[in-house]
């Protein structure tokens, strides 16, 4: 029954060079656009609850503790689902995997809008987290199979901005609808959009180039690096690949640990930022939220700069750019902490810089994970680091709330500054691996 979900065997090769060029050009662009739209809409169904929540709080359906619990459960389930579906998606057809996942989240959002019991909310939100995990791995599979090693930084970063576009649009949409028609519509409308977008994905997305009878992208672009990655350990079976290149790969573990810390910062700013603005700086909720959306704008630019810059300035090596941005996170967190001007613009500028620096590593680490693992387990590798990322996100929920209870906002900032600093340190062995060794002796 689920056979259509499986990745097809390679189709007979197309011989005509002009035809190959044409379909590559066509599909590279269209797949990117479709993935972009799809992933942005995944954000709609993921964040809809965050912005419908104030209205639900106001109408007394939920209280703050329930919300904290739902967040933590969501992040944990989402992280696990990302890893599991990463393993599955390496052998699945991204077209239906991503499309059906998106439709499922849509259905769940609609059901959420129709329910009223707490256990129902929790159950539905966990189910939503599960299907949310179907979004990223297919994308990383497509991004590693349609775009080659030397240009991937740019394509991946362009796609990555879907995070920010989705994250910036959803508060506007849901807040407006919830304000006018109540929170139920605030959940149902994103759900409907998701179902429509899911149908579009099933229609417009394609599997890897080989299933369309095209040569691999490395051969098409004559990218030596890409071809080297393709020929690495061809004969291994998927289980061995997973064990060798993901679970037993120390560099993936390193990236995963670093990702935990980056996500502590990202989620802390994202989820607690508006509380900081309203509680500490005395803004109203609307301007607080719009200042937070500067975080996404900064992230949009930061991801592009980081991805493209790592291709252009460091030959597709993600390490140095990662280090620069990790140091930037430390600086920018410090600047938000110490900023003595409480005007809206200054605070928004701080959020902008944090977003700018956070989304560099947020993207580069995922990309590096896909590139450091086997061609056939890109989804599992990104899913694996994603699992850790959302452990970090879960950490910045309840545990961070405890820290704030005891040490107030200073404690909050100390925690995220330390997280940023340590994440930069964790990148150092990764940089060492990339640098030619003999030169590295002197600098320590």
């Amino acid at each position: 029954m689920l056979n259509f979900m499986k990745s097809r065997p390679a189709a007979p090769l197309v011989r005509d060079q002009a035809e190959i060029d044409a379909s590559y050009r066509h599909w590279r662009l269209h797949i990117l656009l479709t993935m972009y739209l799809g992933y942005a809409v995944f954000y709609f169904t993921r964040k809809s609850f965050n912005f419908a929540m104030p209205d639900m709080l106001a109408s007394g359906i939920l209280d703050k503790a329930d919300i904290g619990m739902m967040w933590t459960l969501f992040y944990l389930t989402y992280g696990c689902s990302k890893f599991v579906s990463g393993i599955i998606s390496d052998r699945a057809n991204p077209r239906y995997f991503m499309g059906l996942g998106l439709m499922a989240t849509g259905v769940i959002n609609i059901l959420f809008g129709l329910s009223s019991a707490l256990w129902m909310f929790v159950a539905l939100w966990i189910a939503n987290a599960f299907f949310q995990g179907w979004g990223w791995p297919p994308c990383s599979k497509l991004l590693t199979s349609w775009y080659s090693r030397t240009e991937r930084g740019f394509w991946w970063s362009a796609w990555n901005t879907a995070h920010n576009v989705g994250g910036a649009l959803i508060p506007l949409i849901v807040s407006t609808i919830a304000l006018q028609h109540g929170w139920r519509y605030g959940m149902i409308v994103p759900g409907l959009i998701a179902i429509l977008a899911g149908l579009l994905l099933c229609w417009r997305l394609r599997d890897t180039p080989s299933t369309l009878g095209l040569p691999t992208v490395g051969q098409w672009r004559q990218d030596a690096l890409e071809m080297a990655q393709q020929t690495q350990d061809v004969g291994l079976d998927p289980r061995q690949i997973l064990r060798k290149y993901v679970l037993g790969n120390p560099y993936i573990w390193l990236l995963a640990c670093c990702y935990v810390l980056v996500y502590v910062v990202r989620t802390a700013i994202n989820d607690w930022g508006n509380l900081y603005m309203t509680e500490q700086r005395g803004f109203n909720l609307m301007s607080a939220n719009s200042a937070i959306s500067m975080f996404e704008v900064g992230g949009f630019i930061g991801a592009l700069v980081a991805g493209w810059g790592s291709d252009k300035l460091f030959n597709g090596n993600r390490g140095p750019m990662n280090l620069i941005f990790a140091m930037g996170i430390l600086l920018s967190v410090g600047s938000l902490w110490l900023m003595p001007f409480f005007s809206y613009v200054m605070q928004a500028a701080c959020f902008f810089t944090i977003g700018f620096f956070v989304f560099g590593p947020q993207m580069l680490i995922g990309m590096a994970a896909a590139e450091c693992s086997h061609k056939d387990c890109a989804g599992a590798a990104t899913g694996f680091v994603g699992l850790f990322a959302y452990m970090g996100a879960a950490l910045s929920g309840y545990p961070l709330a405890k820290v704030m209870e005891i040490w107030h906002w200073n404690g909050f900032f100390v925690v995220i500054s330390v997280a940023a600093g340590v994440s930069a340190l964790l990148l150092l062995p990764f940089l060492k691996a990339q640098a030619p060794r003999p030169l590295a002796v002197e600098t320590g």
């Binding site: 620069i324 600047s335 110490l338 590139e371 060492k432 030619p436 030169l439 002197e442 320590g444």
Partner: protein, 505 residues
């Protein structure tokens, strides 16, 4: 052309974004240390600009300067910085020392550090002169610019150096086979030092106020000693963070700024000084290694010449003397009745035999002939037989664990000579009853040991002179010769093995 332009624009944009974001963050952090927003620009953002301009290619200067101007203008509108055109003018003025610094042909790292120091000083002086002329407090400006400049430019240089010291190669899945180079020891040291200096800055009571500043110098010196200028600058950076964290909430920003300045200066100068020593040291080490190679080669050459001369002598003179003796015999037989002829020919024969013996002795000293025909071990055994040790009642033991292929010709000859000289001493002076010869390979060294249970060496002997000559040879080959007369005589020779040398080169 178009693509180059596009790439230039894109790189400039990316650089400007990173620069602007960093600039803004540093400005915001600096606001805590000074009274007004415009002075905060003179602190860290000033240094960031100097540091980046100093390192980046000339063609990216205009976008960076433009970016800074826009930032200043924007901040003026937001928080009010009426003096911002002055800063802009100052940043244009400081291009002068930057341009001069770029023209310096600098070969060594330590010179680069000094150039950096000079550039920052001149740039800070220019900026604060402008400040002074505008009727503001020039001294404060000088302090701020110097502090920020030294702190940030050295950090920029450190990072820039780290990022550009190698061409970066993309990573692939092949990485999985490469073990992680954790460098735990280094990381732990960094962290320990950092935590220590942070703890000292935060934790010491006010009664120890004289002691605290000295603690800043210790990590700088330790790291500079271990890692050169990079270590010094890294320690300075860690100190800066610790100082800022420790004193940002205190009452005296002037004190903090001055200590930041002083410790940055310490780091830079110490870094430059130690780096110079390190570079000299490295040059010296290289030169020494080179010298050793040269002497080794000299010895090899000498040995090969000796070998050649010995062979020629042996072949030529041996034949000639045989011919002379034959001729003398013929002469004697041609005139059997003449006693004078007989006498003369006998004399000729004796004399030529004398020459033959003399030449043989000479040959032995020139080159042990045994080594041409057999292995070193067999040659040493031959030596033992030749000296008739058994007959003299000396028990010998030979343990030979060396393969000849691992030794160069000079080494073989030297080892043989050591055995020869040592055994001669045993026979002549030691009055020993047992002698042991041990030869073995030990990691990358060759070890030869001669032990006897005799009465040691006599105080002054001509043979001691022979050993002296051998000691010089051994040293020239990069080895050591030790002679101890505690219980009997023990002669130990230690040579670097040839295989390692070659693989090392």
């Amino acid at each position: 052309m178009i693509s180059r332009l596009a790439s230039y624009v894109a790189i400039s944009l990316a650089a400007c974004f990173i620069f602007a974001a960093g600039w803004f963050c540093l400005w915001s952090i600096g606001l805590h240390l000074v009274e007004s927003p415009v002075l905060a620009v003179l602190l860290f953002p000033f240094g960031l600009r100097l540091g980046l301009l100093l390192q980046s290619p000339l063609r990216y200067w205009p976008p960076l300067l433009l970016c800074e101007a826009l930032l200043l203008h924007w901040l003026d509108r937001e928080v009010g910085m009426p003096l911002w055109p002055l800063i802009l003018a100052g940043s244009l003025l400081t291009l002068l020392p930057l341009l001069i610094a770029r023209r310096q042909r600098v070969r060594d790292d330590w010179q680069q550090l000094l150039v950096l120091l000079a550039t920052v000083t001149v740039a800070a002086a220019l900026q604060s002169l402008l400040w002074h002329l505008a009727g503001e407090d020039g001294l404060t400006a000088l302090l701020l610019t110097l502090t920020g400049g030294l702190t940030l430019t050295s950090t920029c240089m450190l990072i820039w150096h780290y990022l550009t010291r190698a061409t970066w190669v993309p990573l692939g899945p092949a990485l999985v086979d490469q073990p992680v180079d954790w460098r735990f020891r280094h990381l732990v040291w960094y962290l320990l030092l950092f935590v220590l200096s942070l703890g000292l800055q935060l934790g010491l009571p006010d009664s120890l106020v004289r002691f605290t500043p000295f603690c800043l110098a210790i990590p700088i010196m330790a790291m500079a000693w271990r890692y050169g200028w990079q270590g010094a600058l890294l320690a300075t950076l860690m100190n800066t963070v610790a100082l800022m964290a420790g004193q940002a909430w205190h009452e005296h920003p002037l004190d903090l700024l001055l200590s930041l300045l002083a410790q940055s200066l310490t780091g830079l100068l110490l870094g430059a000084g130690i780096q110079r020593q390190r570079e000299l040291n490295q040059a010296l080490t290289r030169q020494l290694a080179h010298n050793r190679q040269l002497t080794e080669r000299l010895l090899e050459t000498e040995e090969s010449i000796r070998k050649e001369v010995a062979r020629e002598l042996h072949d030529d003179i041996g034949q000639t003397i045989t011919a002379i003796r034959t001729q003398a015999g013929i002469v004697r037989r041609l005139a059997p009745d003449n006693p004078h002829v007989g006498q003369s020919s006998a004399l000729i024969e004796t004399l030529s035999l004398g020459i033959y013996d003399a030449v043989r002795g000479l040959l032995g000293r020139l080159r042990p002939r045994q080594l041409d025909d057999m292995s070193l071990e067999q040659a040493v055994r031959g030596l033992l037989r030749e000296l008739e040790l058994e007959r003299r009642g000396i028990v010998t033991r030979l343990e030979w664990g060396l393969a000849d292929e691992a030794l160069s010709d000079a080494q073989r000859v030297t080892l043989f000579r050591v055995c020869q000289e040592g055994l001669n001493n045993v026979v002549k002076h030691a009055n020993a009853s047992a002698v042991t010869i041990l030869a073995r390979q030990q990691a990358d060294r060759v070890l030869l040991q001669l032990d006897d249970d005799g009465c040691g060496l006599p105080e002054q002997t001509p043979q001691g002179y022979g050993l002296l000559g051998i000691r010089e040879r051994v040293q020239a080959l990069g080895g050591t010769l030790r002679l101890s007369c505690a219980q009997g005589t023990q002669l130990t020779v230690n040579l670097p093995s040839r295989k390692r040398e070659e693989s090392h080169d």
